[in-house]
């Protein structure tokens, strides 16, 4: 087992009996949320941190499953002595509703039909996720999160938490996010969805009933996604125009970057068995995210009742959710004289930077979590 890791972990299930009425008008009569926890909840219940995942993430944030070499997706930042220190905090990772890693989603059985939900699973929004995650909070007996933390789509959930349930969190750490998607962001998502839906194996989303999965479409969607997570600079450095062999003047894989993208797509669609309907749902949740829409499209007004203190972090080479987008969030908080700190981290890793080691990012993260910890201990 690796050092500074939470070690072996097992997921748990939180069953929710109350129906969820989604923003999209759907109803999920009852549902399961799969989650993992690391560290110990203190007696006062004041040291709990919720980690929200991004597009393709899940509840397996840190540690290892028995027999699995690969750790959770945020192993670099969650563990004993790491920025989100599991010796101090009780850390909760949850798979969002509509996901494909154990929480109720399109691959689950729809009680009304006894068949997989498939494309009939209600369209999810970030607001719905906050409602469902709040059920998990109650299930765990936590009155108020010390912090809700997330990157990308996860950061959007942290922001929505602060707006929708202001007294249920003391801090929001919003990393590499945006207050809403741009036309370009939505366009990328739409191309990804079209790649999936035009795969002959898609069968209008009922592929499971046909015993197939739209692997090619999903792989294409992932290739496109991956492309937008990296910076031009980094791709140049990593691959340049390097060839696998020599130019063959054919449509085979010739450049290393082609090989890399195909590998990523293939891995996602085949090895990780990501569900195509979940991918569609997640991209839609991104597109619909717009907390200001409930407040006359005025983000400052949306932030007026926020009680959480904010740490907002962006990365210089992230062109998917650029620093300017994070600054929109900061500006709206400043308009309301809210407590907010902002760091723009120098990185060449594009949007992916929020997952990767970086001394300044770690420094900021450490310092802010230290402050949260001081508050927790001051209350004790």
């Amino acid at each position: 087992m690796k050092e500074n890791s939470v070690g072996l972990v097992t997921p748990k299930i939180c069953h929710v009996d109350t129906p969820l009425h989604t923003v999209s008008g759907g109803v999920i009569p009852q549902y399961d949320l799969v989650y993992e926890t690391y560290g110990q909840l203190n007696a006062a219940g004041t040291n709990a941190i919720l980690i929200c995942h991004a597009l393709s993430g899940n509840h397996h944030v840190a540690g290892y499953y028995a027999g699995d070499e690969k750790p959770g997706w945020w192993e670099a930042y969650v563990g004993p002595g790491k920025p989100i220190d599991t010796n101090r905090f009780f850390v909760v990772g949850v798979n969002n509703l509509g996901g494909c890693h154990g929480s109720t989603g399109p691959t689950s059985i729809n009680p009304a039909t006894n068949k997989p939900w498939g494309p009939d699973f209600p369209i999810m929004t970030v607001k719905d996720w906050v409602v469902s995650q709040d059920k998990l909070r109650q299930h765990l007996g936590i009155a108020q999160w010390a912090a809700v933390i997330g990157g990308s789509l996860g950061g959007m959930q942290a922001l929505q938490w602060a707006i929708d349930l202001p007294d249920r969190l003391r801090h929001a750490v919003v990393i590499a996010a945006a207050p809403k998607l741009s036309a370009q962001n939505i366009a990328f998502n739409e191309v990804a969805r079209q790649a999936i839906m035009s795969d002959p194996d898609f069968h209008n989303g009922r592929y499971l009933e046909h015993g197939v999965t739209p692997k090619r479409g999903l792989a294409l969607a992932r290739m496109l996604g991956h492309l937008t997570y990296l910076s031009d600079d980094l791709m140049g450095k990593k691959f340049g125009r390097e060839l696998r062999d020599k130019l063959k003047y054919s449509f085979d894989v010739e450049f290393q970057v082609e090989s890399y993208l195909r590998y990523q797509g293939e891995k996602f669609a085949t090895k990780q068995k990501f569900d195509a309907n979940t991918y569609l749902l997640m991209t839609k949740a991104l597109d619909y995210f717009d907390p200001a829409a409930d407040y006359d499209h005025d983000l400052s007004r949306a932030m007026a009742h926020v009680q959480a203190k904010f740490m907002v972090i962006s990365f210089t080479s992230d062109w998917r959710f650029s620093p300017e987008r994070s600054e929109e969030i900061v500006r709206a908080l400043l308009d309301n004289d809210k407590d907010v700190s902002y760091a723009e981290i120098e990185s060449q890793h594009g949007h992916d930077a929020f997952l990767l080691p970086n001394p300044f990012y770690e420094g900021v993260f450490n310092a802010y979590l230290q402050r949260i910890w001081q508050e927790v201990t001051a209350d004790a």
Binding site: M311, R331, V340, S341, Y342, A343, F360, A367, R371
Partner: protein
């Protein structure tokens, strides 16, 4: 960013004494956040620091202040704040490093009711003597850099600063002239531009907007 450590405590004490308790404060180039943290603790102030240097941003977070990482040479303060958002906008030992001190002063007095600005006096006698007798750019404890690597690209004397204020319709509410130990001598009072090493100015618009 700057050689601020040695100036730190007495200068900040003097500034603190000028600030009304309970004020909203913005500290530009807030360094490690010491001043704002002090104002929060001792004078019930609230507000933000702005800083460019990554390590100082981390130090500011450690010191418990709200810090916004920003490059004031690339962004306008108005990108972040509305008119009259603060009682005081403070900038210590940083006026001389920005691209356009004159424009920044305008912005500071737009988003703040008053400003407190401190900077090294280039008219200090030691600087004059070095230039006169060695024929070279002064290098002193307060200005420890070479001419080619100094971040202090817009050095000025007290007279220069006050004439800029007059031109811009900025009123000097209060002024303190001190040496490096932050003492004020009789000589400094009589001949500030010659004998004063560091200036602290409290300024505001002559004609409120």
């Amino acid at each position: 960013m700057l050689n601020r450590q040695r100036l730190l405590s007495p200068e900040f004490k003097l500034i603190s004494s000028w600030i009304e308790p309970g004020s909203r404060v913005l500290d530009l180039g807030c360094g490690d956040g010491t001043l704002l943290a002090h104002l929060q603790e001792s004078r019930r102030c609230s507000g933000y620091g702005m800083e460019l240097d990554p390590n100082l941003v981390i130090a500011s977070i450690e010191n418990g202040i709200n810090v916004i990482q920003a490059n004031l040479n690339k962004k306008s303060l108005l990108d972040y704040f509305d008119e009259d958002s603060f009682d005081y906008v403070i900038m210590t030992q940083a006026l001389q490093v920005v691209d356009r001190p004159d424009l920044l002063l305008d912005e500071m007095l737009t988003i703040g009711k008053q400003s407190i600005v401190t900077f090294p006096n280039f008219g200090f006698w030691k600087n004059r003597i070095q230039l006169m007798f060695t024929g070279r750019m002064p290098e002193t404890d307060v200005l420890p850099y070479h001419w080619y690597d100094t971040p202090n690209i817009h050095l000025c004397t007290f007279k220069d600063f006050e004439s800029l204020c007059a031109e811009k319709g900025i009123a000097v509410v209060r002024r303190a002239v001190v040496n490096q130990q932050h003492e004020t001598t009789l000589g400094m009072k009589l001949l500030p531009n010659l004998l004063g090493e560091i200036a602290l100015y409290q300024i505001q618009r002559k004609h409120p907007k």
